[in-house]
C-alpha cells in the first residue's frame, strides 16, 4: 500500500524504502544456483511457504541432513586441530572453488583417517607406558636384591673376619640372610613386583597386612618423577613395590588385592644376568616405540596443518550450502514437480537486479525455461528497510533498539544523527575532555579497515561499531565546551576580555558586592570571570535550567511536527485536525509561553519571578501581576492561553472516537447496500472479505484508547518538560567533578613544590579524569541522552511496531558463531 504525501521531495532515510511482495517461479534444475546468486545479492527476504510442515516432510530434508553431517565432521576436525594447538584463524584461501560433493567425500575420508590415527596413537602410548613402568620395576626391584645381596656379602665377610655373632645396625633383611647365608633353612618364598599409586600405598600396606595376617613382607621404593599411567594416560606418582609371601593362598589374596588397587604387576626374574638382559631388551623396545609414536604424531600434525589452511573456506562453503537448502525448503513445490514457487519481500528499487540474477542463473544452468518474477498485491504490512551506510548504521541501530519503524512512518533516526550527540554534549561540555574523546575515536576510524577484519572483544567491538557516533559526540562536546568555557574546568578568554570589572579602582567590595558589567557581553559563551566565584553556582544553575527547558520544548515541538508529517503522508485527516492541532496548542500555550517568558526576562533584565507567574497563572489568573509584569498585556495573554489550553483537552479527547464511529457506520451501511444490489460486481466481491476483517469496531475500546492517549499527552507535557532538566543536572555534575579533580588534585600537588608529589598528583589526576570523567560520565550522558530521545522525543509521534527487513544473504553467515 503506497501513499504519497503529495508532491513532497523524498529524503533518504526519512521513510522506509518502498517494498513489494514478489513471487518467483523457478524451474527445479536452476533452483540451487538461483538461490545461491540471490544470497550473494542479499536483497530478497523469503517467506516460509511450508510453515506447517515438519522438518522431515520438507523437500530437501535429505540434503539438509547431509549438510548437517558435513558440519559435524568439520566440528570434529576443528576439535582435533585445537587439541593439536593449531589455530584456524587463517583467512579463507579464496579461489579454489571446491565442489560440494567432492568436499563431502573428502571430509569423510579425513575423518576416518584421523580417527584411525588417534586410535593407533592411543594404543602405542599405552604400550609405551606399560613398558616404561616395567623398566622402572626392573630397575628398582633389581636395586633391592642387589643392595641387600651386597650387604649380605659384606656381612658374611665380617662374620668370617670376626667370630663375634653381633648383628650390625643395618642388618640385612632377615629373609635375605636366610636366602643367601643359610640355604638349608631356606623357605620357599615367592614374590610379586609391580607399581602402585603413591596415595594408595598406605591403605595397600594395611589391607595386605590384615589379609595375610602379617605373613608377607612389603618393600616399597619411591619413583622420583610422576610417570604416565597406561590406562588413564595421565602422569601420576607411583611407587615400586615388591611383596614377599609364602604359600599359594597368600599369593591368591595378594593378586586379588593388587587388582583391586589397580596396581600393575610385572614379572621379575631374580637372576642377575637375566635382569640385565631384560633391562636392555625393554630399553630397546622403548626407544623403538618412541620413534614410532613420534613419526605418527608428525604425520598427524602435518595432516592437520593441511586441513587448517583450508578449514575456513570449507566451513563457509558448508554453511552456505546449508543455508541454501534451508531456503529451498521454504519454497513450495509445484504440483507438476517441475518448478518451485518462492514468495518474498524485496525493495522496489532492486527489481532489475533481481531479474538480472534470475537470468544469469538460467544461463548458467542451460535451462530451457527461465524463471518468472511477478509482483503480488497484498494488504500485509511490509518489512521496514533503510539503506544505511557505515556512518548512519550506528544511529539507525540506536533507534531500532527501541522499536523498528512501522512501514513508511517517519524515521526519528534522521534527527537523531544530530540531536543525540548534541544533547550528549550539553551534558558533557568540556572541550578538553572532548578533544580526548576525539583522539580516541579518530584512532578507531583511521584503523577501520584492519580492525573490521579482526575479531574484537565485546566492549571494543561495541566502541568500534559506534565510532562515528562517538566522533559526533566529541565534536559537539568541543563546541559546548567552548560555550561553557571549560577546559578541564579551567576557563580561558579566547574570545576577548571579560565583561566584568570592579566597581571602583580599589576593588574593595569585590568579595561582598561583586563586580559589575562594564563592557559589552562576552561574545561567545560563558564569561571567564565566573569560575571560582561565590555566585558561580546560582548563575550557572539558573542559566542551565532555563536552557534545558528551552531545548526540551524545542525538541518536543519537533516531535509533534513530525507527527503532522506522518498524518499527512498517510492521508489521515482526523489525526491532523483532532490530534496535531490541539497538541501543539496545549504544549505551546503552557510551555511555549514559559519559554517566551524566559527569553523576555533575559532581554529586558526584569526581576520578575517566573515560578510565581506560572503558578498564579493557574491559581488566580485574573489577579494583577504587579512587579511580575514583563510586558504590556501580559494578563490578557495569560488568560487567553489558559482558555486555549483548557479547550485543547476536550478537543483532543472527544471528536476523534465519535467521528471514527460515524465513518465505520457509513462504510458498513454502504457495504450492506452493495451486497443487495450488485452481486456480480467483482470489485464489491473483493471488498467483502476485507470488511469482515475490519468489521470489529468497539466504540468503548476506541474511546478508552483516545482517553489514555490524551491523559498521556497532557500529563506528559509537564513531566517530559521536567525530565529535560537532567541536561542541567548532568552538566552540573560533570563540571563539579572536573573542577574538584583539578583544584584538589592537580593544584594541590603543584602547591607542594616537590617533583615527586607533582608526578604522583599528575598520575592521580589523569587516572581520575579517564576513569570517572571520560568513561563513567560518557556512559552516563550517553544513557540519559538516549532516554531523552526514546521517551520524550519519540512518544510524540513514533509508533515503532514494524519489523525489520532481513534478506537472505551470505554476508550475515560469516558473522555467525558456531
Amino acid at each position: 500500500m503506497r501513499r504519497n504525501g503529495g508532491g513532497w521531495p523524498t529524503m533518504d532515510l526519512l521513510r522506509s524504502e518502498p517494498m513489494q511482495l514478489a513471487q518467483l517461479i523457478i524451474p527445479i534444475e536452476s533452483a540451487r544456483p538461483t538461490i545461491s546468486y540471490l544470497g550473494d545479492l542479499g536483497l530478497f527476504q523469503f517467506k516460509d511457504l511450508n510453515a506447517d510442515k515438519s522438518p522431515f516432510q520438507r523437500t530437501y530434508a535429505a540434503q539438509m541432513k547431509r549438510c548437517g553431517e558435513m558440519a559435524r565432521k568439520l566440528r570434529f576436525l576443528r576439535e582435533q586441530m585445537i587439541k593439536a594447538g593449531l589455530s584456524t584463524s587463517t583467512r579463507p584461501s579464496a579461489g579454489t572453488d571446491v565442489d560440494v560433493e567432492k568436499l563431502e567425500v573428502k571430509l569423510g575420508e579425513l575423518e576416518a583417517e584421523i580417527i584411525e590415527m588417534n586410535a593407533n596413537n592411543e594404543q602405542l602410548q599405552r604400550t609405551y607406558a606399560e613398558l616404561a613402568e616395567y623398566k622402572l620395576v626392573l630397575q628398582k626391584a633389581g636395586e633391592f636384591f642387589h643392595s641387600t645381596k651386597s650387604i649380605a656379602a659384606i656381612q658374611q665377610r665380617e662374620l668370617k673376619a670376626q667370630s663375634l655373632g653381633e648383628g650390625s645396625i643395618d642388618s640385612p633383611l632377615l629373609l635375605e640372610q636366610e636366602m643367601v647365608t643359610d640355604p638349608s633353612k631356606q623357605v620357599k618364598l615367592g614374590f610379586v613386583s609391580g607399581l602402585l599409586q603413591r596415595d594408595k600405598s598406605t591403605a595397600f600396606e594395611r589391607i595386605l597386612f590384615r589379609a595375610t595376617r602379617g605373613n608377607v613382607f612389603l618393600k616399597q621404593a619411591v619413583v622420583e618423577e610422576p610417570i604416565r599411567d597406561p590406562s588413564s594416560g595421565e602422569k601420576v606418582e607411583k611407587n615400586v613395590f615388591v611383596i614377599f609371601y609364602s604359600g599359594e593362598r597368600a599369593k591368591n589374596k595378594i593378586v586379588k588385592i593388587c587388582e583391586a588397587f589397580a596396581a600393575n604387576r610385572y614379572p621379575f626374574a631374580d637372576d642377575t644376568s637375566k635382569q640385565f638382559q631384560m633391562i636392555t631388551e625393554v630399553s630397546g623396545r622403548l626407544s623403538e616405540l618412541k620413534t614410532t609414536i613420534d613419526v605418527g604424531l608428525l604425520h598427524q600434525a602435518s595432516l592437520l596443518q593441511d586441513i587448517a589452511h583450508q578449514f575456513e573456506h570449507w566451513n563457509l562453503l558448508v554453511k552456505k550450502e546449508k543455508s541454501i537448502y534451508h531456503t529451498l525448503n521454504m519454497l513450495s513445490i509445484d504440483v507438476t514437480k517441475k518448478c518451485l514457487v518462492a514468495e518474498g519481500w524485496c525493495p522496489v528499487s532492486a527489481t532489475t537486479q533481481i531479474q538480472n540474477v534470475l537470468q544469469r542463473a538460467t544461463l548458467d544452468c542451460n535451462s530451457q525455461v527461465g524463471a518468472i518474477f511477478h509482483v503480488l498485491h497484498t494488504e500485509e504490512s511490509p518489512p521496514t528497510y533503510f539503506c544505511t551506510n557505515k556512518f548512519t548504521t550506528a544511529f539507525q541501530e540506536i533507534v531500532d533498539a527501541y522499536g523498528v519503524a512501522k512501514y513508511q512512518e517517519a524515521n526519528p533516526g534522521v534527527y537523531t544523527i544530530i540531536t543525540f550527540p548534541f544533547l550528549f554534549a550539553v551534558m558533557f561540555g568540556d572541550w578538553g575532555h572532548g578533544i580526548c574523546l576525539l583522539m580516541a575515536t579518530l584512532y578507531f576510524i583511521f584503523r577501520e579497515k584492519s580492525l573490521s577484519n579482526q575479531k574484537l572483544g565485546d566492549i571494543t567491538g561495541m566502541i568500534f561499531g559506534g565510532r562515528y557516533v562517538i566522533l559526533m559526540m566529541a565534536l559537539f562536546s568541543i563546541y559546548t565546551g567552548l560555550i561553557y568555557n571549560e577546559f578541564f574546568s579551567v576557563p580561558f578568554d579566547i574570545f576577548g576580555p571579560s565583561a566584568y570589572a570592579c566597581r571602583d579602582l580599589s576593588c574593595r567590595d569585590a568579595s561582598t558586592q561583586g563586580l559589575i558589567k562594564v563592557h559589552s557581553t562576552y561574545p561567545f559563551g560563558v564569561d571567564p570571570v565566573w569560575h571560582g566565584t561565590r555566585s558561580e553556582l546560582p548563575f550557572l544553575n539558573s542559566l542551565k535550567m532555563k536552557m534545558s527547558i528551552l531545548l526540551g520544548v524545542a525538541q518536543m515541538n519537533l516531535g509533534i511536527v513530525l507527527s503532522y508529517f506522518n498524518a499527512r503522508f498517510f492521508a489521515n485527516d482526523l489525526n491532523i485536525r483532532y490530534q496535531f492541532v490541539p497538541q501543539i496548542i496545549f504544549l505551546n500555550s503552557l510551555f511555549g509561553y514559559l519559554s517566551l517568558l524566559i527569553i523576555v526576562k533575559w532581554c529586558t533584565g526584569s526581576q520578575a519571578d517566573l515560578y510565581h507567574v506560572m503558578i498564579y497563572m493557574f491559581l488566580s489568573p485574573m489577579e494583577d501581576l504587579g512587579e511580575n509584569q514583563l510586558f504590556v498585556g501580559q494578563k490578557f495573554l495569560q488568560v487567553m492561553l489558559l482558555l486555549l489550553a483548557l479547550a485543547a483537552v476536550p478537543w483532543m479527547l472527544f471528536p476523534k472516537p465519535f467521528i471514527l464511529k460515524k465513518q465505520h457506520e457509513e462504510r458498513h451501511r454502504g457495504q450492506s447496500y452493495a451486497i443487495l444490489h450488485s452481486v456480480d460486481d467483482p470489485l464489491e466481491m473483493d471488498l467483502h472479505p476485507n470488511s469482515h476483517g475490519h468489521e470489529e469496531f468497539e466504540f468503548s475500546e476506541v474511546f478508552v484508547h483516545q482517553l489514555i492517549h490524551t491523559i498521556e499527552f497532557v500529563l506528559g507535557a509537564v513531566s517530559n518538560t521536567a525530565s529535560y532538566l537532567r541536561l542541567w543536572a548532568l552538566s552540573l555534575a560533570h563540571s563539579e567533578l572536573s573542577s574538584v579533580f583539578y583544584d584538589k588534585v592537580l593544584l594541590l600537588a603543584w602547591g607542594f613544590n616537590n617533583t615527586l608529589v607533582l608526578i604522583i598528583g599528575i598520575i592521580v589526576f589523569i587516572s581520575a579524569t579517564v576513569g570517572v570523567l571520560l568513561v563513567m560520565e560518557t556512559l552516563s550522558a550517553f544513557l540519559h541522552a538516549l532516554r531523552l530521545h526514546w521517551v520524550e522525543f519519540q512518544n510524540k509521534f513514533y509508533e515503532g511496531d514494524g519489523y525489520k527487513f532481513q534478506p537472505f544473504s551470505f554476508t550475515s553467515l560469516s558473522e555467525e558463531d558456531e
Binding site: P9, T10, M11, D12, L13, L14, V414, Y415, I417, I418, T419, F422, V426, Y479, T480, I483, A499, Y500, A510, S511, T512, Q513, G514, L515, I516, K517, S520, T521, Y522, P523, F524, G525, V526, D527, V529, W530, G532, T533, R534, S535, E536, P538, F539, S542, L543, K546, M547, L550, L551, A554, I599, W602, C603, T604, G605, Q607
Partner: protein, 70 residues
C-alpha cells in the same frame, strides 16, 4: 559583537556549509536533501545554544562575587 550580528554570522555559516555539502558530496537529490537537513539541524542546535548563553548574560541579575584571596 551584538546578538543580531552573530546570529547573522551563524546563518551565513549554515548556508555555506549546506552549499559545500552540495558541491563536495553530491549523490542524488534525496541524499542531498538528507545532508542539507542534517547541516541545518546542526546549525540550528549550535545557534540555539550560543543564543541562550548570550541572552542570559546580556542583562544579568546576578554578578560575580569573588572569593577572598583571589
Amino acid at each position: 559583537m551584538g546578538f543580531v550580528v552573530t546570529s547573522l554570522i551563524f546563518t551565513v555559516i549554515g548556508i555555506l556549509a549546506s552549499l559545500c555539502t552540495r558541491v563536495f558530496c553530491n549523490s542524488g537529490p534525496s541524499t542531498n536533501l538528507l545532508l542539507v537537513t542534517l547541516v541545518i539541524t546542526a546549525t540550528v542546535c549550535c545557534w540555539m545554544m550560543w543564543a541562550i548563553v548570550y541572552l542570559a548574560q546580556m542583562k544579568p541579575l546576578i554578578v560575580p562575587i569573588l572569593t577572598d584571596g583571589e
